[in-house]
Protein backbone atom coordinates (compact mmCIF):
# COMPACT_ATOMS: atom_id res chain seq x y z
CA UNK A 1 0.00 0.00 0.00
CA UNK A 2 1.36 3.43 -0.91
CA UNK A 3 1.02 4.62 2.65
CA UNK A 4 3.64 2.16 3.91
CA UNK A 5 6.14 2.97 1.19
CA UNK A 6 5.64 6.62 2.05
CA UNK A 7 6.84 6.01 5.58
CA UNK A 8 9.54 8.52 6.33
CA UNK A 9 12.12 9.15 8.98
CA UNK A 10 9.59 11.02 11.16
CA UNK A 11 8.26 7.78 12.56
CA UNK A 12 11.75 6.55 13.36
CA UNK A 13 12.36 9.75 15.27
CA UNK A 14 9.08 9.42 17.13
CA UNK A 15 9.72 5.78 18.08
CA UNK A 16 5.98 5.20 17.70
CA UNK A 17 6.47 1.60 16.52
CA UNK A 18 8.18 -1.28 18.31
CA UNK A 19 7.90 -3.51 15.24
CA UNK A 20 7.29 -2.41 11.66
CA UNK A 21 5.88 -5.34 9.80
CA UNK A 22 3.03 -5.04 7.36
CA UNK A 23 0.05 -7.36 7.70
CA UNK A 24 -2.32 -7.23 4.74
CA UNK A 25 -6.05 -7.44 5.24
CA UNK A 26 -8.91 -8.53 3.00
CA UNK A 27 -9.27 -6.90 -0.41
CA UNK A 28 -12.60 -5.33 0.40
CA UNK A 29 -14.36 -3.99 3.43
CA UNK A 30 -15.23 -0.82 5.30
CA UNK A 31 -11.57 -0.17 6.14
CA UNK A 32 -10.11 -1.05 2.71
CA UNK A 33 -7.26 1.26 1.76
CA UNK A 34 -6.67 2.36 5.32
CA UNK A 35 -3.91 1.56 7.79
CA UNK A 36 -4.63 0.60 11.40
CA UNK A 37 -1.62 0.60 13.74
CA UNK A 38 -1.99 -1.94 16.54
CA UNK A 39 -0.81 -1.53 20.12
CA UNK A 40 1.84 -4.07 20.98
CA UNK A 41 -0.21 -5.84 23.66
CA UNK A 42 -2.67 -7.17 21.06
CA UNK A 43 -1.68 -10.55 19.66
CA UNK A 44 -0.73 -10.77 15.98
CA UNK A 45 -0.23 -14.22 14.50
CA UNK A 46 3.43 -14.59 13.53
CA UNK A 47 4.35 -10.98 14.38
CA UNK A 48 6.09 -10.40 17.68
CA UNK A 49 4.06 -8.85 20.46
CA UNK A 50 6.25 -7.38 23.18
CA UNK A 51 3.91 -5.42 25.49
CA UNK A 52 6.80 -2.96 25.63
CA UNK A 53 8.64 -5.44 27.84
CA UNK A 54 12.02 -7.10 27.74
CA UNK A 55 10.18 -10.14 29.10
CA UNK A 56 8.34 -10.59 25.78
CA UNK A 57 10.99 -9.12 23.45
CA UNK A 58 10.96 -12.32 21.37
CA UNK A 59 7.38 -13.47 21.95
CA UNK A 60 5.58 -14.39 18.71
CA UNK A 61 1.90 -15.21 19.22
CA UNK A 62 0.51 -18.27 17.45
CA UNK A 63 -2.88 -16.58 16.89
CA UNK A 64 -4.57 -13.23 16.23
CA UNK A 65 -6.54 -11.24 18.79
CA UNK A 66 -10.22 -11.00 17.80
CA UNK A 67 -9.89 -7.24 17.17
CA UNK A 68 -6.91 -7.86 14.87
CA UNK A 69 -8.90 -10.47 12.98
CA UNK A 70 -11.78 -8.01 12.62
CA UNK A 71 -9.74 -5.08 11.29
CA UNK A 72 -8.03 -7.38 8.77
CA UNK A 73 -11.37 -8.83 7.66
CA UNK A 74 -12.59 -5.23 7.26
CA UNK A 75 -9.85 -4.64 4.69
CA UNK A 76 -7.37 -2.63 6.76
CA UNK A 77 -3.59 -2.98 6.49
CA UNK A 78 -1.65 -3.15 9.74
CA UNK A 79 1.63 -1.22 9.33
CA UNK A 80 3.13 -2.43 12.62
CA UNK A 81 2.91 -2.71 16.36
CA UNK A 82 2.98 0.44 18.44
CA UNK A 83 5.03 1.41 21.45
CA UNK A 84 3.49 1.45 24.90
CA UNK A 85 4.26 1.64 28.57
CA UNK A 86 5.45 -1.79 29.70
CA UNK A 87 2.37 -4.03 30.03
CA UNK A 88 0.24 -0.85 29.88
CA UNK A 89 1.60 0.40 33.19
CA UNK A 90 2.22 4.10 32.79
CA UNK A 91 0.80 7.43 31.68
CA UNK A 92 3.71 8.57 29.49
CA UNK A 93 4.98 5.65 27.31
CA UNK A 94 8.33 6.17 29.04
CA UNK A 95 8.32 2.82 30.86
CA UNK A 96 8.67 0.93 27.55
CA UNK A 97 11.72 -1.31 27.33
CA UNK A 98 12.03 -0.03 23.74
CA UNK A 99 12.54 3.61 24.69
CA UNK A 100 10.14 6.54 24.95
CA UNK A 101 7.93 7.84 22.12
CA UNK A 102 8.10 11.50 21.10
CA UNK A 103 4.95 13.61 21.00
CA UNK A 104 4.61 14.73 17.35
CA UNK A 105 2.50 17.80 18.20
CA UNK A 106 4.40 18.83 21.33
CA UNK A 107 8.09 18.01 20.85
CA UNK A 108 10.00 17.38 24.07
CA UNK A 109 6.82 16.24 25.79
CA UNK A 110 5.41 12.78 26.39
CA UNK A 111 2.66 11.48 24.08
CA UNK A 112 0.72 10.19 27.08
CA UNK A 113 0.23 6.55 27.83
CA UNK A 114 0.02 3.80 27.87
CA UNK A 115 -1.09 3.71 24.20
CA UNK A 116 1.36 6.50 23.35
CA UNK A 117 2.71 4.87 20.19
CA UNK A 118 -0.79 4.47 18.74
CA UNK A 119 -1.76 8.09 19.40
CA UNK A 120 1.58 9.46 18.16
CA UNK A 121 1.34 7.38 14.96
CA UNK A 122 -2.13 8.76 14.23
CA UNK A 123 -1.21 12.35 15.13
CA UNK A 124 1.85 12.21 12.86
CA UNK A 125 -0.11 10.66 9.98
CA UNK A 126 1.97 7.49 10.17
CA UNK A 127 -1.24 5.48 10.42
CA UNK A 128 -4.78 6.45 9.46
CA UNK A 129 -6.21 4.85 12.57
CA UNK A 130 -4.96 2.87 15.54
CA UNK A 131 -6.06 0.42 18.20
CA UNK A 132 -5.23 1.14 21.81
CA UNK A 133 -6.27 -0.37 25.12
CA UNK A 134 -7.62 1.51 28.12
CA UNK A 135 -7.36 0.14 31.66
CA UNK A 136 -7.42 3.48 33.48
CA UNK A 137 -7.16 6.05 30.69
CA UNK A 138 -4.57 4.52 28.37
CA UNK A 139 -6.52 5.45 25.21
CA UNK A 140 -7.93 8.79 26.37
CA UNK A 141 -4.74 10.21 27.90
CA UNK A 142 -2.55 9.79 24.80
CA UNK A 143 -5.43 10.94 22.58
CA UNK A 144 -5.66 14.13 24.67
CA UNK A 145 -1.88 14.68 24.78
CA UNK A 146 -1.47 14.15 21.00
CA UNK A 147 -4.53 16.14 19.92
CA UNK A 148 -6.48 13.20 18.45
CA UNK A 149 -9.70 11.32 19.28
CA UNK A 150 -9.85 8.20 21.47
CA UNK A 151 -12.77 6.07 22.60
CA UNK A 152 -12.82 3.80 25.66
CA UNK A 153 -15.85 1.56 24.99
CA UNK A 154 -18.29 0.22 27.58
CA UNK A 155 -16.92 -2.85 29.38
CA UNK A 156 -18.16 -5.82 27.36
CA UNK A 157 -18.59 -4.03 24.00
CA UNK A 158 -15.26 -5.16 22.49
CA UNK A 159 -13.60 -8.57 22.76
CA UNK A 160 -10.34 -8.82 24.71
CA UNK A 161 -9.46 -12.25 23.32
CA UNK A 162 -5.77 -12.04 22.43
CA UNK A 163 -5.15 -8.94 24.54
CA UNK A 164 -2.29 -9.64 26.92
CA UNK A 165 -3.97 -9.17 30.29
CA UNK A 166 -3.01 -6.48 32.79
CA UNK A 167 -6.21 -5.86 34.80
CA UNK A 168 -9.11 -7.81 33.31
CA UNK A 169 -11.96 -6.22 35.24
CA UNK A 170 -11.03 -2.76 33.94
CA UNK A 171 -9.61 -2.94 30.44
CA UNK A 172 -11.15 -2.48 27.00
CA UNK A 173 -9.78 -2.22 23.46
CA UNK A 174 -10.74 0.94 21.56
CA UNK A 175 -10.02 3.18 18.58
CA UNK A 176 -7.75 6.21 18.17
CA UNK A 177 -8.32 8.40 15.10
CA UNK A 178 -7.92 11.95 13.76
CA UNK A 179 -11.68 12.56 13.82
CA UNK A 180 -14.67 11.38 15.84
CA UNK A 181 -16.28 9.92 12.74
CA UNK A 182 -13.19 7.87 11.87
CA UNK A 183 -12.92 6.59 15.44
CA UNK A 184 -16.58 5.59 15.30
CA UNK A 185 -16.02 3.71 12.04
CA UNK A 186 -13.22 1.67 13.60
CA UNK A 187 -15.36 1.03 16.69
CA UNK A 188 -18.10 -0.38 14.43
CA UNK A 189 -15.61 -2.88 13.06
CA UNK A 190 -14.27 -4.13 16.39
CA UNK A 191 -17.46 -4.01 18.53
CA UNK A 192 -19.73 -6.97 19.11
CA UNK A 193 -19.92 -10.30 20.89
CA UNK A 194 -17.17 -12.92 20.73
CA UNK A 195 -17.59 -16.44 22.06
CA UNK A 196 -13.92 -16.39 23.05
CA UNK A 197 -14.44 -13.52 25.51
CA UNK A 198 -17.27 -14.38 27.90
CA UNK A 199 -17.51 -10.76 29.12
CA UNK A 200 -18.76 -9.53 25.72
CA UNK A 201 -22.47 -8.76 25.31
CA UNK A 202 -24.83 -8.72 22.37
CA UNK A 203 -24.56 -4.93 22.16
CA UNK A 204 -22.60 -3.69 19.22
CA UNK A 205 -23.40 -6.66 17.00
CA UNK A 206 -24.96 -4.46 14.31
CA UNK A 207 -24.14 -1.09 15.77
CA UNK A 208 -23.93 2.07 13.73
CA UNK A 209 -21.72 4.61 15.42
CA UNK A 210 -20.29 6.66 12.56
CA UNK A 211 -23.68 7.99 11.41
CA UNK A 212 -24.14 9.51 14.87
CA UNK A 213 -21.24 11.87 14.14
CA UNK A 214 -23.60 14.63 13.03
CA UNK A 215 -22.56 17.21 15.59
CA UNK A 216 -26.16 17.74 16.64
CA UNK A 217 -26.10 18.61 20.33
CA UNK A 218 -29.20 20.81 20.29
CA UNK A 219 -31.13 19.92 23.45
CA UNK A 220 -28.37 17.68 24.84
CA UNK A 221 -27.84 17.97 28.60
CA UNK A 222 -24.15 17.99 29.55
CA UNK A 223 -23.39 17.37 33.23
CA UNK A 224 -20.18 18.89 34.56
CA UNK A 225 -18.82 17.08 37.64
CA UNK A 226 -17.24 19.81 39.75
CA UNK A 227 -14.79 17.34 41.33
CA UNK A 228 -13.22 16.61 37.92
CA UNK A 229 -12.79 20.27 37.01
CA UNK A 230 -11.61 21.89 40.25
CA UNK A 231 -8.27 20.06 40.32
CA UNK A 232 -7.30 20.94 36.76
CA UNK A 233 -4.53 23.36 35.79
CA UNK A 234 -5.72 26.91 35.02
CA UNK A 235 -4.76 26.68 31.36
CA UNK A 236 -6.56 23.36 30.93
CA UNK A 237 -9.60 24.74 32.72
CA UNK A 238 -9.78 27.80 30.46
CA UNK A 239 -9.78 25.60 27.34
CA UNK A 240 -12.44 23.39 28.92
CA UNK A 241 -14.69 26.36 29.77
CA UNK A 242 -14.36 27.65 26.18
CA UNK A 243 -15.44 24.24 24.89
CA UNK A 244 -18.50 24.32 27.17
CA UNK A 245 -19.36 27.77 25.75
CA UNK A 246 -19.05 26.29 22.28
CA UNK A 247 -21.45 23.47 23.20
CA UNK A 248 -23.96 25.92 24.69
CA UNK A 249 -23.77 28.02 21.52
CA UNK A 250 -24.76 24.90 19.61
CA UNK A 251 -27.85 24.40 21.78
CA UNK A 252 -26.58 22.12 24.54
CA UNK A 253 -27.50 22.78 28.13
CA UNK A 254 -24.87 22.40 30.86
CA UNK A 255 -25.66 21.50 34.46
CA UNK A 256 -23.44 21.02 37.48
CA UNK A 257 -23.35 17.51 38.90
CA UNK A 258 -21.40 15.97 41.74
CA UNK A 259 -19.31 12.82 42.07
CA UNK A 260 -18.34 12.73 45.76
CA UNK A 261 -16.62 9.37 45.32
CA UNK A 262 -14.19 10.78 42.74
CA UNK A 263 -11.51 11.66 45.27
CA UNK A 264 -11.17 7.98 46.19
CA UNK A 265 -11.09 6.71 42.60
CA UNK A 266 -7.32 6.85 42.06
CA UNK A 267 -6.65 4.84 45.23
CA UNK A 268 -9.37 2.31 44.40
CA UNK A 269 -8.22 2.00 40.80
CA UNK A 270 -4.57 1.42 41.65
CA UNK A 271 -5.34 -1.13 44.37
CA UNK A 272 -7.57 -3.12 42.00
CA UNK A 273 -5.31 -2.77 38.94
CA UNK A 274 -2.15 -3.69 40.85
CA UNK A 275 -3.85 -6.64 42.53
CA UNK A 276 -5.05 -8.03 39.22
CA UNK A 277 -1.64 -7.36 37.66
CA UNK A 278 0.18 -9.26 40.40
CA UNK A 279 -1.91 -12.30 39.53
CA UNK A 280 -1.91 -11.88 35.73
CA UNK A 281 1.84 -11.37 35.48
CA UNK A 282 2.59 -14.46 37.56
CA UNK A 283 2.57 -16.43 34.29
CA UNK A 284 5.90 -14.93 33.17
CA UNK A 285 8.18 -17.53 34.64
CA UNK A 286 10.71 -17.88 31.83
CA UNK A 287 9.53 -21.44 31.18
CA UNK A 288 6.48 -21.25 28.91
CA UNK A 289 7.49 -17.86 27.55
CA UNK A 290 9.48 -14.88 28.66
CA UNK A 291 13.16 -14.55 29.35
CA UNK A 292 14.83 -17.37 31.15
CA UNK A 293 18.04 -16.77 32.99
CA UNK A 294 18.93 -20.41 32.47
CA UNK A 295 19.28 -20.65 36.21
CA UNK A 296 19.26 -23.90 38.08
CA UNK A 297 18.50 -24.61 41.66
CA UNK A 298 15.32 -23.92 43.58
CA UNK A 299 12.46 -23.23 41.14
CA UNK A 300 11.28 -20.18 43.02
CA UNK A 301 14.76 -18.65 43.09
CA UNK A 302 15.19 -19.29 39.38
CA UNK A 303 11.82 -17.67 38.60
CA UNK A 304 12.55 -14.68 40.83
CA UNK A 305 15.86 -14.05 39.06
CA UNK A 306 14.38 -14.44 35.57
CA UNK A 307 11.53 -12.08 36.49
CA UNK A 308 13.89 -9.44 37.86
CA UNK A 309 15.71 -9.51 34.51
CA UNK A 310 12.56 -9.38 32.40
CA UNK A 311 10.47 -6.74 34.18
CA UNK A 312 11.14 -3.00 34.34
CA UNK A 313 10.85 -0.94 37.49
CA UNK A 314 7.23 0.25 37.19
CA UNK A 315 6.01 -3.29 36.50
CA UNK A 316 7.94 -4.64 39.48
CA UNK A 317 6.54 -1.83 41.64
CA UNK A 318 2.95 -2.69 40.67
CA UNK A 319 3.41 -6.45 41.08
CA UNK A 320 4.87 -5.90 44.55
CA UNK A 321 2.18 -3.44 45.65
CA UNK A 322 -0.54 -5.72 44.27
CA UNK A 323 0.93 -8.70 46.07
CA UNK A 324 0.99 -6.60 49.25
CA UNK A 325 -2.66 -5.50 48.82
CA UNK A 326 -3.76 -9.12 48.47
CA UNK A 327 -1.53 -10.56 51.19
CA UNK A 328 -2.77 -11.95 54.48
CA UNK A 329 -3.79 -9.17 56.85
CA UNK A 330 -4.09 -6.50 54.14
CA UNK A 331 -6.65 -7.98 51.76
CA UNK A 332 -9.63 -6.52 53.66
CA UNK A 333 -7.98 -3.15 54.22
CA UNK A 334 -6.99 -2.53 50.61
CA UNK A 335 -8.65 -4.86 48.12
CA UNK A 336 -12.07 -5.16 49.78
CA UNK A 337 -12.30 -1.42 50.48
CA UNK A 338 -11.28 -0.67 46.91
CA UNK A 339 -14.19 -2.83 45.73
CA UNK A 340 -16.52 -0.83 48.02
CA UNK A 341 -15.19 2.37 46.50
CA UNK A 342 -15.76 0.94 43.03
CA UNK A 343 -19.44 0.27 43.86
CA UNK A 344 -19.72 3.83 45.17
CA UNK A 345 -18.18 5.32 42.02
CA UNK A 346 -20.64 3.32 39.91
CA UNK A 347 -23.58 4.58 41.98
CA UNK A 348 -22.34 8.18 41.69
CA UNK A 349 -22.17 7.97 37.91
CA UNK A 350 -25.63 6.38 37.73
CA UNK A 351 -27.07 9.26 39.74
CA UNK A 352 -25.21 11.93 37.76
CA UNK A 353 -26.38 10.42 34.48
CA UNK A 354 -29.99 10.61 35.66
CA UNK A 355 -29.83 14.39 35.29
CA UNK A 356 -27.60 14.56 32.21
CA UNK A 357 -27.20 12.76 28.86
CA UNK A 358 -23.41 12.89 29.08
CA UNK A 359 -20.82 14.19 31.55
CA UNK A 360 -17.93 16.43 30.50
CA UNK A 361 -14.56 17.14 32.09
CA UNK A 362 -10.99 17.79 31.02
CA UNK A 363 -9.57 14.38 29.97
CA UNK A 364 -6.32 15.08 31.80
CA UNK A 365 -6.05 17.71 34.56
CA UNK A 366 -2.64 18.71 33.21
CA UNK A 367 -1.05 19.37 29.81
CA UNK A 368 1.50 16.80 28.52
CA UNK A 369 4.43 16.34 30.89
CA UNK A 370 7.93 17.13 29.73
CA UNK A 371 9.85 13.98 28.97
CA UNK A 372 11.45 12.49 32.09
CA UNK A 373 9.48 14.75 34.42
CA UNK A 374 7.38 12.15 36.21
CA UNK A 375 9.57 9.06 36.17
CA UNK A 376 10.98 9.43 39.67
CA UNK A 377 7.69 10.11 41.36
CA UNK A 378 5.17 7.32 40.75
CA UNK A 379 2.43 8.73 42.99
CA UNK A 380 2.37 12.04 41.07
CA UNK A 381 2.01 10.06 37.84
CA UNK A 382 -0.86 8.02 39.31
CA UNK A 383 -2.70 11.17 40.43
CA UNK A 384 -2.67 12.51 36.86
CA UNK A 385 -5.19 9.74 36.08
CA UNK A 386 -7.81 11.31 38.37
CA UNK A 387 -10.36 12.04 35.61
CA UNK A 388 -9.97 8.86 33.56
CA UNK A 389 -9.87 6.02 36.13
CA UNK A 390 -13.39 6.59 37.55
CA UNK A 391 -14.82 5.64 34.14
CA UNK A 392 -13.08 2.25 34.14
CA UNK A 393 -14.21 1.59 37.71
CA UNK A 394 -17.80 2.21 36.55
CA UNK A 395 -17.45 0.13 33.32
CA UNK A 396 -18.76 3.12 31.33
CA UNK A 397 -17.84 4.42 27.85
CA UNK A 398 -15.95 7.67 27.32
CA UNK A 399 -14.45 9.65 24.47
CA UNK A 400 -11.62 12.16 24.46
CA UNK A 401 -11.74 14.86 21.78
CA UNK A 402 -9.30 17.71 21.11
CA UNK A 403 -10.60 20.89 22.76
CA UNK A 404 -7.82 23.35 22.03
CA UNK A 405 -4.42 24.29 23.36
CA UNK A 406 -3.03 25.69 26.59
CA UNK A 407 0.34 27.41 26.11
CA UNK A 408 0.71 25.59 22.80
CA UNK A 409 0.05 22.16 24.34
CA UNK A 410 -2.97 20.03 23.40
CA UNK A 411 -5.92 19.75 25.79
CA UNK A 412 -8.55 17.01 25.54
CA UNK A 413 -12.17 17.06 26.66
CA UNK A 414 -13.72 13.85 27.95
CA UNK A 415 -17.38 12.93 27.58
CA UNK A 416 -18.67 10.03 29.69
CA UNK A 417 -21.95 8.32 28.80
CA UNK A 418 -24.25 5.62 30.13
CA UNK A 419 -23.39 1.96 29.49
CA UNK A 420 -23.55 1.20 25.74
CA UNK A 421 -24.28 4.90 25.08
CA UNK A 422 -21.46 5.19 22.52
CA UNK A 423 -23.76 6.81 19.93
CA UNK A 424 -24.46 9.71 22.29
CA UNK A 425 -20.72 10.13 22.94
CA UNK A 426 -19.98 10.16 19.20
CA UNK A 427 -22.70 12.78 18.68
CA UNK A 428 -21.44 14.99 21.51
CA UNK A 429 -17.81 14.57 20.50
CA UNK A 430 -18.49 15.42 16.87
CA UNK A 431 -19.81 18.82 17.93
CA UNK A 432 -16.23 19.68 18.93
CA UNK A 433 -13.93 17.67 16.65
Amino acid sequence: MPRIEAEDETAEDLNAFVTRERIDGADDGPLAGRTVAVKDNLSTDGVRTTCGSEMLADYVPPYDATVVERVLEAGATIPGKTNMDEFGMGTTTETSAFGPTENPVAPGHVPGGSSGGSAAAVAAGEADLALGTDTGGSIRCPAAFCGVVGIKPTYGLVSRYGLVAYANSLEQVGPIAPTVEAAAELLEVIAGPDERDATTREHGADADYADAADGDVDGLTVGVPTELVEGADDGVRAVFEDALDDLRDQGAETVEVSLPSAEYAVAAYYVIAMSEASSNLARYDGVRYGVSGGYDGDWNDAFARAREEGFGEEVTRRILLGTYALSAGYHDKYYEQAQDARAWVRQDFDEALESADVLASPTMPVPPFERGESLDDPLTMYLADANTVPVNLADLPAISVPAGEADGLPVGLQFVGPAFGERTLVRAGSALA
Binding site: V287, R288, V291, G297, L321
Partner: protein, 92 residues
Protein backbone atom coordinates in the same frame (compact mmCIF):
# COMPACT_ATOMS: atom_id res chain seq x y z
CA UNK B 1 2.45 9.06 56.68
CA UNK B 2 0.75 5.76 56.28
CA UNK B 3 -0.66 4.00 59.28
CA UNK B 4 0.81 0.96 57.61
CA UNK B 5 4.44 0.45 58.46
CA UNK B 6 6.64 -0.12 55.46
CA UNK B 7 10.24 -1.00 56.12
CA UNK B 8 12.89 -2.58 53.91
CA UNK B 9 12.00 -5.98 55.37
CA UNK B 10 8.40 -5.57 54.12
CA UNK B 11 9.63 -4.86 50.60
CA UNK B 12 11.92 -7.92 50.68
CA UNK B 13 9.09 -10.10 52.02
CA UNK B 14 6.61 -8.99 49.35
CA UNK B 15 9.25 -9.43 46.63
CA UNK B 16 9.73 -12.97 47.89
CA UNK B 17 5.98 -13.65 47.80
CA UNK B 18 5.77 -12.22 44.27
CA UNK B 19 8.82 -14.20 43.08
CA UNK B 20 10.59 -11.11 41.79
CA UNK B 21 14.10 -10.39 43.00
CA UNK B 22 14.71 -6.77 43.95
CA UNK B 23 18.29 -5.52 43.93
CA UNK B 24 19.44 -4.44 47.37
CA UNK B 25 20.18 -0.98 45.89
CA UNK B 26 16.48 -0.60 44.97
CA UNK B 27 15.00 -1.69 48.29
CA UNK B 28 15.33 1.68 50.02
CA UNK B 29 13.80 3.59 47.13
CA UNK B 30 10.89 1.14 46.94
CA UNK B 31 10.41 1.40 50.72
CA UNK B 32 10.06 5.17 50.48
CA UNK B 33 7.74 5.06 47.45
CA UNK B 34 5.57 2.32 48.94
CA UNK B 35 5.09 4.38 52.11
CA UNK B 36 3.85 7.36 50.02
CA UNK B 37 1.60 5.25 47.82
CA UNK B 38 0.11 3.21 50.68
CA UNK B 39 -0.51 6.44 52.63
CA UNK B 40 -2.61 7.58 49.68
CA UNK B 41 -4.43 4.22 49.62
CA UNK B 42 -5.26 4.67 53.33
CA UNK B 43 -7.94 7.16 52.25
CA UNK B 44 -10.03 4.12 51.33
CA UNK B 45 -10.72 3.71 55.07
CA UNK B 46 -13.19 6.61 54.69
CA UNK B 47 -15.26 4.94 51.97
CA UNK B 48 -18.82 4.28 53.11
CA UNK B 49 -20.53 0.95 52.59
CA UNK B 50 -22.63 1.04 49.43
CA UNK B 51 -25.47 -1.27 48.56
CA UNK B 52 -24.09 -2.89 45.44
CA UNK B 53 -26.17 -5.19 43.33
CA UNK B 54 -24.06 -8.03 42.08
CA UNK B 55 -24.30 -7.81 38.30
CA UNK B 56 -21.84 -10.55 37.52
CA UNK B 57 -22.90 -14.13 37.07
CA UNK B 58 -20.91 -17.16 36.03
CA UNK B 59 -21.16 -17.86 32.32
CA UNK B 60 -21.07 -21.56 31.56
CA UNK B 61 -20.81 -23.42 28.29
CA UNK B 62 -20.79 -27.11 27.54
CA UNK B 63 -17.32 -28.62 27.83
CA UNK B 64 -16.87 -29.73 24.25
CA UNK B 65 -13.70 -30.72 22.48
CA UNK B 66 -12.74 -28.04 19.99
CA UNK B 67 -9.76 -26.91 17.99
CA UNK B 68 -6.83 -25.58 19.96
CA UNK B 69 -3.17 -24.79 19.43
CA UNK B 70 -0.99 -27.55 18.07
CA UNK B 71 1.71 -28.76 20.46
CA UNK B 72 4.53 -27.19 18.46
CA UNK B 73 2.70 -23.85 18.42
CA UNK B 74 2.14 -23.98 22.16
CA UNK B 75 5.83 -24.70 22.72
CA UNK B 76 7.09 -22.16 20.20
CA UNK B 77 7.79 -19.42 22.72
CA UNK B 78 9.34 -21.55 25.43
CA UNK B 79 13.02 -20.79 25.99
CA UNK B 80 13.69 -24.51 26.45
CA UNK B 81 11.76 -27.63 25.49
CA UNK B 82 12.48 -31.35 25.56
CA UNK B 83 10.52 -34.17 23.94
CA UNK B 84 7.55 -31.92 23.22
CA UNK B 85 7.39 -30.60 26.76
CA UNK B 86 8.29 -27.36 28.54
CA UNK B 87 11.63 -27.55 30.30
CA UNK B 88 11.94 -25.76 33.63
CA UNK B 89 14.89 -25.13 35.89
CA UNK B 90 16.53 -28.24 37.29
CA UNK B 91 15.59 -28.97 40.85
CA UNK B 92 18.77 -29.32 42.84
Amino acid sequence: MSDTDVDPETVRHVADLARVDVAEADVDRFTEQFADILAHFDALDEVPAVEAEPDLTNVMRPDEVRESLAQDEALRNAPETEDGKFKGPRVS
